[in-house]
Amino acid sequence: MRFSAVFYHQSKINIMKTIVILLSALTLLSCTTEPTLQKYFVEKSESADFLVTDIPASILKINASELTTDQAEALNSLEKLNILAFTASDEKIERFQNEKETLQKILKNPIYEELMRMGSGAGGATVYMKGTDDAVDEFIVFGHQKNSGFTVVRVLGNNMKPEQFGDFLGAIKNANLDIEGLAKYLP
């Protein structure tokens, strides 16, 4: 009687162990094989069909002395824009579909949380975020137009705070866009 109880207990522990091992193996596996947006960008930056570019936040010429502390902080949390674009011509339609589906699959990953989506089958845009409520690492805008192309804009930053959004808008309201500087980043 006693023996069987011990045995039962043992087998329960064994099952638990197996499950834990299996689960951790699964998580590890998914970590290494899951494609991320970052990887996709790096991969495509070598392809002539894609336009991939980084635009630093410094492109906004802002006189720091005119900013409030809150505004300066909000502005500092923004690092750069990372842009990827693909234009579909007639012979690239199939490729366009494939790439679009790959991207949509990547963005299905739960680390990217969908904020809003609008549009129709003919074209539209989706906004995602990555990070936590109080510290956003990244906003992602994915826009596509049927048979003509898609664009992904990653707004990268460091602990961007939603409550600072108002300050941020206030800061860039008086900004001068450095057009000549901008041209450097576009082909």
Partner: protein, 176 residues
């Protein structure tokens, strides 16, 4: 143990199945314009610091924190419009909503339904169907979920340019 795992699997699978709403198929339709706002977005919007003393904005931000999901489907195509209507009726059969009001205004048929919570004015879901007719009217389906008060809706229609905003305003006044 086995039972636990089976339960887990069943709940996970059923969740995946049920989260597929009857309207999902319209999202890839060329004729339908969709707007979807997630709970996360509402949470973030509620956090935005506004030093505005404007009571309208304050009201709006208060309401936004209580919202979960907004889904709007709009089409001007009559055929797709009637498909939307069929899907709505299918949804209404299962969703346990009560009719709040029905307006027939020069051929435009508007139905507003709600799923209430513990209190009568506490709304868990607001559903609106505007039927388009041959005259240039769009068919609109709107679903808003959350935990809010019907009287607060006017704050939303004032700040956001929602289709059927006028009708919604009437509904929220009618209940007062």
């Amino acid at each position: 143990m086995v039972r636990l795992i089976t339960t887990l699997v069943i709940t996970l699978v059923s969740q995946i199945l049920f989260s597929q709403s009857v309207f999902d198929k319209f999202e890839n339709n060329d004729e339908v314009t969709t707007v979807i706002v997630s709970k996360k977005m509402f949470e973030m919007m509620g956090k935005v610091k506004v030093d505005s003393k404007d009571p309208q904005t304050q009201k709006f931000l208060n309401l936004v924190k209580k919202l979960e999901n907004l889904k709007v489907y709009v089409t001007s195509n009559l055929k797709v419009g009637s498909e939307l209507k069929v899907a709505s009726e299918k949804y209404l059969k299962t969703a346990n909503l009560e009719e709040l009001m029905r307006i027939n205004d020069s051929g435009k048929n508007v139905r507003i339904l709600v799923r209430t919570g513990a209190k009568d004015s506490q709304i868990r879901e607001l559903f609106m169907l505007i039927e388009g007719s041959a005259k240039d009217n769009d068919t609109v389906v709107l679903s808003l979920t959350g935990d809010f008060d019907l009287n607060e809706i006017s704050a939303l229609t004032d700040q956001m340019n929602l289709p059927g905003g006028e009708e919604l305003k009437k509904a929220s006044k009618g209940k007062k």
